[in-house]
Symmetry: C3
Subunit: 154 residues, 3 copies
Amino acid sequence: MTALNPENPVFVTYAIAAALMVLKVMGQGWMTVYRMMRSDSGLASPEDLQTGPLNRNPRPGQLEINDYVDRSRRMHRNDLENIPAFWAAGLLFMAVEPPLLLAQILMYGFVLARLAHAVAYVTKQMHEVRATFYTIGSVAVIAMALYVLAAVVS
Amino acid sequence: MTALNPENPVFVTYAIAAALMVLKVMGQGWMTVYRMMRSDSGLASPEDLQTGPLNRNPRPGQLEINDYVDRSRRMHRNDLENIPAFWAAGLLFMAVEPPLLLAQILMYGFVLARLAHAVAYVTKQMHEVRATFYTIGSVAVIAMALYVLAAVVS
Amino acid sequence: MTALNPENPVFVTYAIAAALMVLKVMGQGWMTVYRMMRSDSGLASPEDLQTGPLNRNPRPGQLEINDYVDRSRRMHRNDLENIPAFWAAGLLFMAVEPPLLLAQILMYGFVLARLAHAVAYVTKQMHEVRATFYTIGSVAVIAMALYVLAAVVS
């Protein structure tokens, strides 16, 4: 059977998890935009200090780091450190035909761990809380990569 | 028909768009290198202050942020916040067999929006200009992810 | 033959290289965690200054940039600027059925160049050393993307 096909239940699992993670990454960009506009600060480039619809009252300091906006950028960076590796590992994992239940646990587990990580980050939970969810997501990706290596080199 | 195959016209669309975006991301790295060398500044690591072919006249301040070099790094970061999600969303989108015209609009639309975003960023256009192109690219990726979810959960 | 399949020797090459790069990216996150804990510094968020298992002796300055920890974050960022593009380019390259030997040279060459880049970065070699390995990896990815474009538009 072709792996990359909606008839394959592991593909369906991967497609749901990977598409949700696409929405998470893109949504994080929009959270940054929202927070930049709402706080009228945390801008990225010197030319953003010009007056316009996105900046009605330019003032010095708008380029300085602001935790409200920067928190969203740190969340985004944390996503980029984890989610593209999930897309790659999940695709390879699907191609080596794992048991469906294992795919569901690792893929949906990753999605839930990343969503919990985002909630912990945005609500400023203690480091230990978001570290726990980071770890679960990271272990799921590492497990898929090791499974793929074991499957193709054996 | 196998999705991941040059006989599939949606694959050809995806392959062209995704390969152009690979060249964009890698090219952005080379723009940073070019700007670092041309301005002799914006270096990343303390050990880069040693004398050598890439730094003939080391001096204090070469590790400080320099907008000429940092602009290229910000463009790169903006790429990383959007383009890997496009690679993932586009692959899944292709696998659920969308109409060719829709794939062409979303995929080539994404490529054109990202190229326009890069031109707006490098020429320091107002925030509103690059925000517009950012939005077009982001909406194309989000649309593909939603289409995938609708296709596999129905 | 289906490209995304363990019967395809180019897939096996891609799966080994891409899975090793997944482990590299995820491992870089763990190096950052290890260095943060070992040096008790380089924390990312204000709430990380609370007392807890990950921070037994909070003190001012733990949020400041510390080269020991930041070096790992810079390595991670450099990975993100290169490895997701490799995953995408390698997948497309595999789909257009290149000669196996060429795939092995470009894919294993990329992996070796990135591992050498990491060693050069972590041991603080001169800029020229890590720039050389960066270049080899970058050229491998660009070559795959150009090969894909040539294959699908011809």
